[in-house]
């Protein structure tokens, strides 16, 4: 509700002394001034009180979103463009057609956001992108063995792999940050499993001699736990690597917990969305939180993994269920499209 004030001193914009003390007690409302406006005064000189509502920071921005994602990820691209519309003023979403230079000239976006891995982008478009003041290349590089060369062409390289960040900066990006693509909740969700399909732990890496010794010790210590292997070399029931998302979701749903000896933000999101507890190895530089409400169980060494697994096994059935429920809740909210897009926008507009 707007109130018009005509009290003494207001027209001049100066707050009288006897009102200044009171105004200091009240916190100032957060306000983003509209473009072209320099003060809160109307043309009549009457000063209006601060708007009742708070404006979200990106709501003035226009984003050009260019789709280069693999055809199998069309839903991700569509969902991201739809959710982005909640956060910014305008989204122009296009599939890439070798016309980026023309689109930039036509729309003058505040931000150009490319989704995918940039194969087939023309040289002219690369040059136009490099010159654009604000750009993000949100790479889909989780399955790649090395950083994608396109990561150096935008101001911000958003990657699925924390360990690729410094490489993208060396390639030419002004900055790089790990921003994981949200998973499709229609696919990655809890699914009912038959008793014979159910396992306690799914090992998603290939065996090594050290890991085999570790497994032997775990099986002796927890003889009732059922293990599944999603990699090669384990003396366990082995399941083939799941290539398509549906099979991957089914595989993750088979186990109560999934263990991987390398960090993967994508796996974290996928597992958590399925209600499966992820045990993931942290990168050396990251601290290992001990807090139970973390979205995954992190470890650094095999000994650390054994300790965490023992602690997990000691939980009662309902405590394990509560832990999985917390992670499921976190994945629904924290890893869904809007929070991830906010993370991206905040970084891009820093």
């Amino acid at each position: 509700m707007r109130r018009t004030r005509k009290a003494e001193g207001v027209r001049t914009g100066k707050i009288p002394l006897h009102r200044q003390a009171r105004s200091k007690l009240k916190p100032k409302p957060m306000r983003v001034r509209p473009r072209g406006s320099s003060s809160g005064r109307s043309l009549s000189g009457v000063r209006h009180a601060a708007p009742f509502r708070t404006e979200v920071g990106f709501k003035q921005q226009r984003v050009l979103l260019v789709q280069l994602l693999d055809a199998t990820k069309w839903k991700t691209g569509m969902a991201l463009s739809e959710q982005l519309r909640l956060l910014v003023q305008e989204v122009i979403a296009v599939d890439y057609r070798e016309d980026l230079k023309e689109l930039l000239a036509l729309y003058h976006p505040d931000l150009v956001l490319l989704l995918g891995n940039g194969s087939g982008i023309s040289h002219a478009d690369v040059l136009a992108l490099r010159e654009w003041p604000r750009s993000v290349w949100w790479l889909d590089d989780d399955g790649l063995e090395r950083p994608h060369p396109a990561g150096g062409d935008a101001k911000l390289a958003a990657t699925q792999r924390l360990e690729f960040c410094s490489a993208y900066e060396e390639l030419g990006a002004a900055s790089s940050e790990m921003i994981v693509y949200p998973v499709d909740p229609d696919i990655y969700q809890p699914l009912p499993m038959k008793e014979e399909e159910r396992a306690d732990y799914l090992l998603l890496d290939d065996a090594t001699p050290a890991r085999l010794r570790w497994l032997q010790a775990m099986r002796r210590k927890h003889p009732r736990a059922k293990w599944l292997a999603g990699g090669k070399g384990w003396p366990l029931e082995s399941v083939p690597a799941a290539a398509d998302p549906q099979s991957r979701a089914r595989l993750l749903n088979r186990a109560r917990a999934v263990i991987r000896w390398s960090w993967s933000g994508t796996l974290l999101y996928e597992a958590a969305a399925c209600g499966t507890v992820p045990f993931l190895k942290t990168l050396a530089a990251e601290p290992v939180p001990s807090n139970e409400s973390d979205s995954c169980v992190r470890f650094r060494t095999l000994t650390g993994l054994a300790r965490r697994l023992d602690a997990f096994e000691r939980l009662s059935a309902d405590e394990k269920r509560a832990a999985s429920s917390r992670m499921l809740k976190a994945s629904r909210f924290d890893y869904s499209h809007v929070p991830v897009l906010l993370q991206l926008l905040t970084t891009a507009f820093k």
């Binding site: 009912p192 209600g275 059935a317 309902d318 269920r321 429920s325 499921l328 629904r332």
Partner: protein, 348 residues
């Protein structure tokens, strides 16, 4: 989806309650004397048209069943009280068994905890102690429930009568008792028994021999979730309250996995046990019929798609003194039942 509501039979006088709580005591006694403790606290809750029914009356039981069936409930789960040969509150169920006009399906939940002058089975001033006896006593118990199991209205799973046990962990002789009951069941022409244990407000350790576990809400969420309790000051002393919506969101966000067992999911209407124990109880803020319907429809969908359960158990048909009842009242009329029907039909 078969929606089953728990039914409390404590709506007629029995000598034990007369002795310990006063002549003519029933659940209505507590309900009528309830008082509001804080602003917005709605007590006493009064039945629609002042229908303070007595469950010994055929009219009352038949009316309950007619309402239940009309609004989409599949059946009632009666609380059954058996203390090594001693029965309590058994008459409504026995009368139903003999009543050909009482057609609603039903099953039993053995409420195996001691009756005390505290309302939650704790050991304070025991009115009737729960014990289990020996094989002779288990046989006698089985022979008592057999006519119910054999009744065509009894709820079955794969031909086996569904029998819920409230506190299975308290039964020290569980394996032996179960084994005997299974033998007796088969001997008497049943395919066995579909054993269901309750996941409620107490630790449920690992216990073999159950076909499924039923989530008893909101107790299970109180015990295993992380609801935000607030302490209100009342004239009677401090009182704990919790919000309805986050409680339901915990239920709807819960992982479906629990040691691979079959889960029969639960739902609740509300919670307010201040009629029983005053400010020492807890109450839920913000429950409305519309919210109940919305949450229930989601839980029904989860029951079908995720839990692959044939049943969903609702607490309760008539727990008036615990503030969780579907029966019509003066405040909401029939709205809870209407929401139940919408939820049941919407997901069929």
């Amino acid at each position: 989806m078969k929606l089953i509501a728990y039914l409390l039979p404590q709506f007629h006088a029995i000598p034990e309650n007369d002795l310990h709580w006063g002549k003519g005591f029933t659940e209505w006694t507590n309900t009528k004397k309830a008082k509001p403790l804080y602003k917005g606290h709605h007590q006493p809750n009064e039945p629609w048209a002042d229908d303070y029914y007595c469950l010994l009356e055929d009219r009352a039981r038949r009316r309950q069943e007619t309402l239940a069936a009309a609004y989409g409930l599949h059946g009632f789960c009666y609380y059954h009280y058996w203390f090594k040969g001693k029965k309590l509150l058994e008459k409504p169920l026995e009368l139903k068994l003999r009543d050909p006009l009482s057609t609603l399906p039903f099953c039993l939940s053995w409420a195996n905890e001691s009756w005390t002058r505290k309302w939650d089975g704790g050991s304070h001033e025991i009115i009737q102690k729960q014990t289990y006896g020996t094989e002779k006593d288990w046989k006698e118990h089985f022979e008592y429930v057999l006519p119910f199991f054999q009744d065509s209205r009894y709820v079955r799973v794969g031909g086996k009568p569904l029998f819920v046990i409230y506190r299975p962990g308290d039964i020290g002789c569980w394996n032996e008792m179960r084994s005997l009951w299974e033998k007796l069941a088969v001997k008497n022409g049943l395919d066995g028994i579909y054993w269901v244990r309750t996941l409620g407000g107490f630790q449920a350790g690992s216990q073999k021999g159950f076909d499924a576990s039923v989530e008893f809400e909101p107790h299970y969420t109180f015990a295993t979730g992380s609801p935000t309790w607030r302490r209100l000051k009342t004239a009677d002393g401090p009182h704990l309250v919790v919000d309805y919506d986050p409680l339901w969101m915990e239920i709807l966000n819960r992982s479906i996995r629990r040691e691979g067992e079959a889960i029969l999911p639960g739902a609740f209407v509300g919670w307010d046990n201040t009629p029983r124990i005053g400010s020492r109880g807890q109450s839920c803020l913000g429950a409305t019929p519309e919210k109940f319907g919305w949450y229930l429809s989601r839980q029904i969908r989860r029951a079908k798609e995720l839990y692959r359960s044939e049943f969903l158990f609702i607490n309760a048909w008539n727990e008036w003194a615990e503030g969780t009842y579907l029966e019509p009242d003066r405040r909401h009329g029939f709205r809870y039942l209407e929401e139940l029907k919408k939820a049941a039909q919407g997901t069929d």
